[in-house]
Point group: C2
Chain length 269, copies 2
């Protein structure tokens, strides 16, 4: 059996390209369609109600492309609107929360896990609830880090100011003696070095996107939905806006050339 339909991935913006990067690593033969809602980014500072409206529209963009699975790369959407995507979709839906939480439970020895993310993700307690469900003996401690996204987008990944900000955000978590930390936002892997240094290399950093890509690979294998073609796979990128420096920033997140990017009209259609 072979299923050449693309994997659909959506995100509030370009951060989800770090998830595409992980997918191309674990599933190098899959066609992928990405949609980034760059005209309305960010979602992480907005209310659940608005994020749920946007998530429904983003899902429809991917469904128009006959995707075989929907990967919700955006942590905020995964946290507050996964049910919206699932209800709308006839294909399997994978968010980043459960895979990220599972990877953290496997990584922690002291059963003390930290979670960082946007205000929306942290306020939802989605990771905390997932951790508890997977292993009720795990204690979770969370911290919103609103400045990390603009710092990653500005490319200030090694800047002294970023170190200071990381220190301030992460200090309460160090007091809790966590030994695993979920990077609960697509942008945070770009700040991995500064986070790792701030935590004195003593905490396992869990990239939810990476964990999600592995979960998608397992799911496609189990369901017999992998693409068996060995033709060069097709990666297609759709966005609702093509702002200044889009390609530069996007390629930094994706880790390779973006190629042609299509703009889809503003919402709703």
């Amino acid at each position: 059996m072979s299923d050449s339909r693309p994997i659909g991935v959506f995100d509030s913006g370009i951060g989800g390209l770090t998830v595409v990067r992980a997918l191309t690593h674990h599933l190098p033969h899959e066609n992928i369609i990405y949609f980034g809602d760059t005209a309305r980014v960010p979602y992480g500072s907005k209310s659940p109600q608005v994020v749920r409206d946007y998530a429904a529209q983003d899902t429809d963009v991917l469904l128009q492309h006959k995707v075989k699975i929907i990967v919700v790369a955006c942590n905020t959407v995964s946290a507050v609107a996964l049910d919206v995507v699932q209800k709308r979709s006839r294909v399997p839906v994978v968010g980043v929360i459960i895979p990220g939480a599972e990877a953290a439970v496997q990584a922690t020895k002291k059963k003390r896990v930290g979670v960082i993310g946007t205000v929306g993700t942290i306020k939802s307690d989605a990771y905390v609830n997932a951790l508890r469900q997977i292993d009720p003996s795990v204690q979770a401690f969370s911290q919103a880090c609103p400045l990390f996204v603009p710092l990653a987008e500005e490319g200030w990944t090694e800047h002294k100011a970023t170190e200071l900000i990381a220190k301030e955000y992460l200090f309460p978590l160090t007091l809790e003696k966590i030994d695993a930390l979920i990077l609960g936002c697509t942008h945070y892997p770009l700040l991995r070095n500064v986070i790792d240094n701030t935590l004195h290399h003593a905490v396992a950093l869990i990239d939810s996107g990476e964990a999600t890509a592995q979960a998608v690979a397992v799911l496609l294998e189990e369901q017999g939905m992998k693409n068996m073609s060995r033709l060069k796979p097709n990666l297609q990128f759709y966005v609702s806006d093509v702002p200044h420096k889009f390609t530069d920033v996007g390629e930094r997140f994706l880790g390779q050339r973006l190629g042609k990017v299509h703009r889809v009209p503003a919402f709703p259609a």
Copy 2:
């Protein structure tokens, strides 16, 4: 003559409340209707095309309320879409660029003016062009400061990291020996102290919102459009999203209690 219709003010989000604050100071008897597009904020990192689409929709929200004048508090909209607002509106339209540039020309003695703003505002060269038109002998130097908005919203106005970031952004402008600096974004007045310290109190800081409020007062006076009623004026606040901490952050920007905030449905209607 007395015109009790409200002044309409719109912005990409809550930053424009600093302009409302200046308006209530200069025009304490005017009714004001504010619209903040908090569901799609920020505009400053988005393309001119998208900002123009949003500006048209924002204008329509205010026009439905029979405003007597439209004040475009958002620097990015004023820079890239003022013509869109003007074309759509039968009432006078005032943006923040010309008043800000005029105030800077009056303030500079060395004829060397700096401009800071969002990527969208700076790339448009709107302030630079306005300065040249008002006084061709003025030299302008501009710098985008993308991290200033999230820092102001996070409330980190006195933080060491903010000082470092301000130093980095403003350093090229100090080399140009500017003696006036346009704060070309509604959020920047909240960082006035750190900017002033970074520039060693040697540069006149021009608050475009303040200059705009003064321009609006003059215009209403000249056109006989002031409200002569001495009843307590009515301030009404509309937003497209009511995110977490909205009231806290909004009241910091406005400098007074917000009262009831109305949510308008997502766009387009």
